[in-house]
């Protein structure tokens, strides 16, 4: 691109990616892109090893001890749909919030309309933070799943997932976190944050290409029913889809070139350090707030301070 542009749409997808992402993807596509796990020839075996290395890097990034519990998905929406539809059963109660993205609300609304589940949507306070006590109050004996965003794409308010996760764990329900706007920018540790299911995109703050994402499925999730079944490269003699992780969620040829690109993005983030990235973004956020604050025509929404403010920032300028 010859003309210089200012790109501010990173909440949708990050741009540009680090050069190592482009370089690795081109090399992979030109020289290495056999179908992983489907054959025993050297290229296929190496492609599989590359996918597994990427999986292992993601596992380390989230504090996941068994990397096979991370499945690659098309994007965060794909991961959220897999998680929601894979663990709820008829008659279950689900808790979510009014701040969720359509990738959470639409599947939940559809399940509610089909009379599969009952749904409670919790409201946040004026700064767009959820109160963990409100979650606690809405938990019922039938509550199977609590689905919440780590930070909504509209206001960017980072939610107290650790406190909420603890409550959900104590109640015996499952906790699904939508990390679309935080992964790679705000630290997440699945153990410390009591997360049972973590859905994340690869193409936002992890700096991978579009078409990548993943779902972590913790050991408390005994069974997850896949809605995409097909070839896995293992157990092909079985008439039904395998239950082993990660194959259970990975029917069909994976996006290998995207996955190796994602690994490079992730290495870049890990090398810079997530704390350093967060500190940099906080600095930018504070500067923006300070600049907008004196303007009378501007109204700012969401958190009043930068501290618990994620990457998205919502303000309105009256005409």
């Amino acid at each position: 691109m010859s003309e210089k542009i200012i790109y501010l749409d990173n909440a949708a997808t990050s741009f540009p990616k680090p050069p190592c992402v482009y370089e690795r993807m081109e090399k992979f596509l030109r020289e290495e892109s056999a179908n992983p796990g489907r054959s025993g020839h050297r290229m296929s075996v190496e492609a599989e090893a590359s996918v597994e290395r990427s999986r292992s890097l993601l596992a380390k990034f989230f504090g996941v001890k068994n990397s096979s519990r991370i499945a690659f998905t098309l994007n965060c929406t794909d991961a959220l749909n897999m998680a929601i539809k894979g663990v709820v059963h008829e008659g279950d109660h689900v808790i979510s919030s009014v701040m969720e993205h359509n990738s959470v609300l639409r599947p939940l609304h559809a399940l509610e309309e089909d009379k599969m589940i009952t749904l409670t949507k919790v409201k946040p306070d004026s700064e767009c933070f959820l109160n963990p006590a409100d979650i606690k109050k809405t938990i019922q004996p039938k509550t199977r799943l609590v689905v919440l965003t780590h930070a909504p794409n509209v206001t960017g308010a980072i939610q107290p997932i650790r406190e909420i996760g603890k409550i959900v764990r104590e109640a015996g329900a499952l906790f699904l976190v939508d990390a679309a706007q935080t992964v790679g920018a705000v630290p997440i540790d699945v153990d410390k944050d009591f997360v049972d299911l973590l859905a994340f995109p690869g193409h936002k703050s992890l700096l991978g290409p579009t078409g990548t994402g993943g779902l972590f499925v913790g050991e408390r999730v005994e069974k997850i029913t896949p809605w995409r079944e097909g070839g896995t490269g293992m157990g092909s003699e079985s008439p039904t889809h395998p239950e082993e992780f990660p194959y259970v969620l990975e029917g069909g040829t994976p996006n290998t070139v995207g996955i190796v690109g994602l690994a490079e993005g992730l290495k870049f983030v890990a090398e810079k350090g997530i704390e350093a990235i967060r500190a940099h973004e906080l600095k930018l956020m504070s500067a923006l707030r300070a600049g907008l604050a004196p303007l009378k025509k501007v109204k700012m929404f969401g958190p009043k301070s930068a501290e618990n403010h994620g990457r998205a920032f919502h303000f309105n300028r009256r005409a």
Binding site: G40, V45, A59, G233, M234, S236
Partner: protein
């Protein structure tokens, strides 16, 4: 009995090279043990009896009858109950010393999980049974700055070495990569007698005690080799000089930890088989391997492949080995199981 009551260790700290201060340090220490078979059971037993603060025992295998000859923590009842080694060891040792916190992890230690397994440890003990995992341990420990103690034995002989990252030679200083299969006998191909197990594990534990007390000046560096049958003993690298070109401890290139080096596995579609291949092609002499495997099962070979059929835990397996080191393990689609069979009979 109070958790901080050290009286049970009196005979240990009475020994002047330990002392009460040394015991206090041992009792506050955290150890990860990778592998709880022959060496691992002796190591775990000695460390728990000797009063480490915490031990994490990692092993993915279940106990089999032919383990009882040398794996001192297990018995026939454990086999009847079908217990994993890590769990059985924890249950036994909790009855021995309730003051020690014991965590059992039933998992295949590999490059994907080693860093979390050794996190927070003051020391890592090697009770594993193959070279690949030892290089993974070496990478992870050098990177994290955690000392580890290598041990290995087969037949009547064994080896032991302490690695203090950036101070003493690491495994990669001595050998850049795993030895070839022709030179790698295992307990499953060459057999083992229990005395050498106890000796090597005891050498490892002795160095462990020094490390845990912080007495690093008393550590004996280099690779020590001992044959219990002939009493031949050798030391290598005792001048404690690290390889100035070591990729691991000098240059910080952790190829095993990144999963770049090591065997590749892939489950083969519809064949109840797993293919194992090496990160780089090697050339295997089938006649040497066939000789090594003659006590294991039925072996045949031509210029292109070697076939071995064997029975293990009541199941039939067929290994087809190719001259470049690639093998197809038929009889399982479980990748860790296939890897374990490859490492036992062919070696990694």
């Amino acid at each position: 009995m109070e958790q901080n009551d050290l009286s049970r260790y009196h005979r240990q700290y009475l020994f002047h090279k330990i002392g009460l201060d040394g015991q206090k340090k041992i009792s506050k220490s955290r150890v990860t043990l990778i592998g709880c078979g022959a060496l691992g059971t002796v190591i775990a037993s000695a460390l728990v009896r000797g009063g480490v603060g915490f031990i994490r025992i990692v092993d993915r295998d279940f106990i089999e009858l032919n383990n009882l000859q040398r794996q001192v923590l297990f018995d026939e009842e454990d086999i009847r109950q079908g217990l994993p080694k890590a769990i059985a060891a924890k249950q036994k040792l909790e009855r021995v010393n309730h003051q020690v916190e014991i965590e059992a992890v039933v998992a295949d230690a590999n490059y994907t999980n080693i860093e979390s397994l050794i996190e927070g440890a003051d020391l890592v003990m090697d009770g594993s049974d193959n070279f690949e995992i030892r290089y993974v341990i070496n990478d992870a420990c050098v990177k994290a700055g955690i000392p580890w103690v290598y041990g290995g034995c087969v037949g009547d002989a064994g080896l032991s070495m302490v690695v203090i990252p950036k101070k003493t030679p690491c495994l990669a200083c001595l050998f850049q990569s795993e030895p070839p299969p022709e030179l790698s006998p295992s307990c499953d191909t060459a057999g083992i007698i229990s005395p050498i197990v106890n000796i090597v594990a005891s050498l490892q534990v002795t160095e462990a005690l020094k490390i845990l007390m912080g007495k690093t000046d008393q550590i004996l560096p280099g690779l020590y080799s001992y044959n219990v049958w002939t009493r031949a003993a050798h030391s290598f690298g005792t001048n404690a000089e690290r390889d100035p070109n070591c990729p691991v401890c000098q240059k910080g290139i952790y190829e095993y930890l990144k999963g770049e080096k090591g065997v590749r596995t892939t489950a083969l579609c519809g064949r109840n088989a797993v293919q194992i291949s090496r990160d780089r092609a090697i050339t295997i002499d089938f006649s040497v391997i066939a000789d090594k495997l003659k006590g294991v099962g039925t072996v045949s070979f031509n210029n292109f492949m070697l076939k071995l059929t064997l029975k293990e835990s009541g199941s039939d397996f067929e290994i087809t080995l190719f001259p470049d080191g690639r093998a197809i393990i038929k009889g399982t689609s479980d990748i860790p199981r296939a890897k374990s069979i490859y490492s036992k009979y062919i070696s990694v």
